[in-house]
């Protein structure tokens, strides 16, 4: 396959970037999208140019490190698929592909396609945990967790913190991420004691980090590689309102 790539290049420390065009040939349909970029980078390196910086690690869709907007869609055209799991068989010979970083005020661009997603860690640090110091745990079977609750918690806990929801949201809101983290714990008995304090702190940190608010557009759920559902945010809102009664 022969492709034309238009890739966002932004040197470290620069406030502005631009699209650079790269013609690339000999792309195999069995390559992953990132393997295709590896080939481009090998050529740039040998030509004495700076290779395209992009984040990646596990390349099997679970670590959440990779993330780029491909032809206007976070993680590209395949549903429920991270950029590293997207394969070139979903493109056609001669295609023009635009590649951009996540764009959000709370995710400053570090270089090229690499952004700083540390704000998501700050949200977790604010309350995304159960206070359970090592050694203090009761016997695992002392608390029964109905299968439905465990499965529902798991669905939310599947979030990989990649930030695609933020990149897709016109408001650059991280509410789907925050809601997934809140829901994971609020659906389990272990999460109940801190339930309402947790949601208040996490939402406050979300807002302070510069993420926009949620206006129920739903782009986030459409691009989420782990298919976190939009109604997770509804549940978060319910907990926020309940917190005013229980706090």
């Amino acid at each position: 396959m022969r492709l034309t790539l238009k890739v966002w290049r932004q040197p470290k420390g620069a406030t502005k970037g631009h699209f650079e065009t790269y013609e690339t040939d000999g792309v195999s349909p069995d390559m992953s999208f990132l393997e295709m970029l590896d080939v481009v980078n090998d050529r740039l390196t040998l030509d004495g140019q700076d290779p395209i910086a992009f984040d990646h690690d596990c390349r099997e869709g679970i670590c959440g490190t990779c993330g780029m907007v491909i032809n206007g869609v976070a993680h590209g055209p395949e549903r429920a698929t991270t950029a590293c799991q997207l394969h070139m068989r979903h493109f056609r010979d001669g295609d023009v592909i635009h590649i951009e970083p996540w764009r959000a005020a709370a995710f400053p661009v570090i270089k090229d396609l690499v952004v700083d997603r540390g704000a998501l860690d700050r949200i977790m640090e604010a309350g995304g945990f159960v206070t359970a110091p090592t050694g203090a745990a009761p016997e695992a079977h002392s608390t029964l967790v109905p299968k439905e609750a465990a499965d529902a918690a798991f669905e939310a806990a599947a979030c990989i913190q990649c930030g695609a929801c933020v990149a897709a949201c016109p408001n650059a809101s991280a509410m789907l991420f925050t809601a997934a983290k809140v829901a994971h714990l609020s659906r389990l008995p272990q999460g109940q004691p801190e339930r309402y304090g947790r949601v208040v702190k996490m939402v406050a940190t979300h807002d302070a980090a510069g993420f926009g608010n949620c206006t129920n557009i739903g782009e986030c759920a459409a691009v989420c590689p782990k298919e976190i559902k939009l109604d997770t945010i509804t549940a978060l809102n319910r907990d926020v309102i309940s917190s005013t009664l229980f706090q």
Binding site: D57, I62, P146, K147
Partner: protein, 657 residues
């Protein structure tokens, strides 16, 4: 700089008896049985007054299951922890990719499990090359790990009654594996990460993401700090503490193609090795039997399909070689379900090393399937419960397979082939998880301790969390309590020297400005390792590799092209530093494999096999951990031996037939 190793020469030196570090486990439990050992040992350990803990700084490198759990637990105890990881968030450490589950001797299924049985299975599964005391402790702690994880909110799979579900897993005949669909690693890591977040918020843990450790600082014989590179600014700086912990994972990426994340590397433990920490059993690598086969030259990594799939899938190849028919066109009586045929007792559930070698054997016979003939079928068409049950258990794995291969595994059998997955070898540690450098502790996959020559499925998560949550908080406290450690000055010659060596190395990599990319060298090194130090090894091949690696390493330093500058986010520079260390490690792995004239676990020497083609151990001569001392690049390493004794599990040839 290169010399040819001939047939008769040995590229290593046996340590003269009575010299060098004494390799004893340091178990302080005289006269106690193995069941009482950890308790007795713990009672002997020193404590540190809670009010004094905050005055002590612990340097933690790596924040996966071992490092993250330890950082959080030490922070909870009140220590000041400085934690470092190369990822942009600790939640992304490669522990996250573990799929299948975590073992624990809870005996929730009433199927005959016990702490002793998990201990027994792990020692036997490791082909009698692990230290009994450590393995017993691991089995004991396994039950506490599950309790801890549940308390944190890890969403383990549940039965309808609300109790936890378990399943059987490669190499075990009972259901002791706890799981969270196909992403147990992610869920356990999120538990450790959330505990770590709580400590970051509380101020006990200072987190440094996107920071790579490049050197250990050893002052007066003790590990007192590290030199790191900020991966965004390129700034090189030193950090000091009373102890240093490495929880930096394994070195499978020496093979270039492995199931490890692209960033996984050996740099932290290799730098420590160069500074005096002995490296034990480097040739003990695990080849996982169920990975997606290589698709082409562009391949950048391999993807594992959890071996839990072997619970329901049946492995087969055509009976005849070069059979090009589609799998559904091959009648039942022309299929060879070779694991069930060769190992009727365990069938498709034989341990990983055995399943991998069997796959290699049938492919070497020309009966492999798929492009290049390097694959076997894993077939779910007769699985109990049909597609719905399979989807509930393995849905995400099936989706992943389809995304990568473009084939629907509900309709055609999966194609799988073995791939490098885990390294049992690592830095030598005593019972306290301390290396031969006082004050340098090593946890999780980075140490050599618990899995011997082969790790059982679902035991890596168990070991990482046992080390991090429960062992290090006790043993590290003992070290702090037992020693008076004066502050280290940034002007100390050892600090200056460590920083200078890092700066010099970085500059040297940038200055080569040759004509080959880092990846092209890494691929070539990986191919040498796979060909000669992979699933099976022989003396001739290993000698070839030992001659080839220094040549390739010299070419690397002469002809690698690392573009850009240090003061930037420079991913080529990051890779180059890691590959440079892999080049040195690779040689040691081959030397270790050559010196061990026996087959055991993942180390299969073709010269040492039974008539049936199974591994033939040599307990008279090789019942020891081989701990290597670094003497310089290209110089013969010195071999130290920790004798292994088996008082509880009698060594026998593993028989899964």
């Amino acid at each position: 700089m290169t010399q040819t190793i001939t047939e008769t020469e040995n590229p290593w030196i046996d340590a003269p008896s009575g010299t060098g570090p004494v390799l004893t486990a340091n178990v302080k439990a005289d006269g106690k049985t193995i069941e009482e050992m950890w308790d007795a040992h713990r009672f002997s350990l020193k404590l540190v007054n809670p009010a004094n803990k905050r005055k002590h700084t612990i340097i933690m490198v790596g924040t996966g299951l071992a490092g993250g759990a330890a950082a959080a637990s030490l922070g909870e105890l009140g220590y000041h922890v400085k934690a470092f990881c190369y990822q942009d968030s600790p939640r992304r450490a490669h522990s996250i990719a573990a799929q299948g589950g975590i073992n624990a001797a809870k005996n929730y299924r009433n199927d005959g499990d016990s702490v002793f049985r998990l201990f027994y299975d792990t020692v036997k599964g490791g082909d009698f090359r692990a230290r009994e005391a450590n393995v017993y402790r691991l089995a004991q702690l396994s039950v506490d790990i599950i309790d801890q994880c549940v308390a944190q909110g890890v969403p383990f799979a549940r039965e309808y009654g609300g109790l936890i579900d378990t399943r059987s897993f490669g190499g075990a005949q009972l259901s002791r594996t706890f799981y969270a669909r196909g992403q147990t690693g992610q869920q356990l890591l999120l538990g450790a990460y959330s505990a770590l977040c709580r400590q970051i918020d509380a101020g006990t843990v200072e987190m440094h993401p996107r920071t790579e450790m490049l050197e250990v600082i050893v002052v007066d014989g003790r590990a007192r700090g590290i030199v790191v590179r900020d991966m965004i600014s390129g700034a090189i700086s030193s950090h000091f503490g009373d102890a240093v912990v490495l929880g930096t994972g394994g070195y499978s990426n020496v093979f270039f193609l492995s199931t490890n994340a692209k960033g996984c590397n050996t740099t932290a433990i290799w730098r420590a090795h160069r500074k005096g920490a002995l490296f034990a059993n480097p040739c003990f690598t695990q080849i996982h039997p169920t990975c997606i086969p290589v698709a082409g030259d562009h391949q950048s990594k391999l993807t594992l399909m959890s071996e839990s799939l072997r619970n329901d899938g049946r492995v087969w190849v055509p009976k005849q070689g070069d059979d090009t028919r589609a799998p559904d066109q091959i009648p039942e009586d022309e299929r060879d379900y070779y694991l069930e045929r060769m190992y009727p007792a365990f069938g498709n559930l034989v341990p990983r090393d055995i399943a991998s070698r069997a796959a290699k054997r049938v492919c070497d016979e020309g009966r492999g399937v798929g492009p290049g003939g390097l694959g076997v079928y894993l077939d779910f068409s007769k699985a109990q419960g049909g597609p719905a049950a399979i989807n509930a258990k393995y849905g995400n794995l099936f989706d992943m397979y389809e995304r990568i291969t473009g084939e629907n595994p509900y309709e055609v059998p999966m194609r799988i082939y073995p791939a490098v997955h885990y390294t049992m070898g690592g830095l030598w540690v005593d019972y306290n998880l301390m290396s031969t450098i006082p004050g340098l502790f090593v946890a999780g996959e980075a140490n050599f301790s618990d899995h011997g020559a082969n790790r059982l499925g679902a035991s890596a998560l168990m070991q990482g969390l046992a080390d991090g949550y429960f062992i290090l908080p006790a043993t590290l406290t003992d070290y702090i309590g037992a020693n008076t450690l004066p502050p280290v000055s940034a002007d100390h010659p050892a600090v200056r020297e460590a920083e200078a060596s890092v700066n010099e190395r970085v500059q040297r990599l940038l200055d080569v400005n040759g004509t080959r990319t880092v990846d092209s060298f890494h691929r070539e090194l990986g191919q040498v390792m796979w060909d000669y130090c992979g699933m099976s090894r022989n003396g001739e091949g290993l000698r070839k590799a030992i001659n080839r690696i220094p040549e390739l390493r010299a070419e690397f330093w002469d002809n690698v092209k690392v573009p850009g500058i240090n003061e930037d986010l420079n991913q080529s520079l990051e890779k180059a530093g890691r590959v440079a260390d892999f080049f040195e490690l690779a040689e040691l792995m081959c030397i270790d494999a050559l010196h061990r004239n026996e087959s055991c676990g993942g180390h299969f020497r073709e010269e040492y096999q039974t008539p049936e083609g199974e591994a033939r151990r040599d307990d008279d001569n090789y019942a020891y951990a081989a701990a290597w001392e670094f003497k310089g690049v290209g110089l013969a390493p010195v071999l130290h031996k920790e004798k292994l004794t088996f008082d509880y599990v009698h060594p026998a040839q593993r028989d899964y037939r």
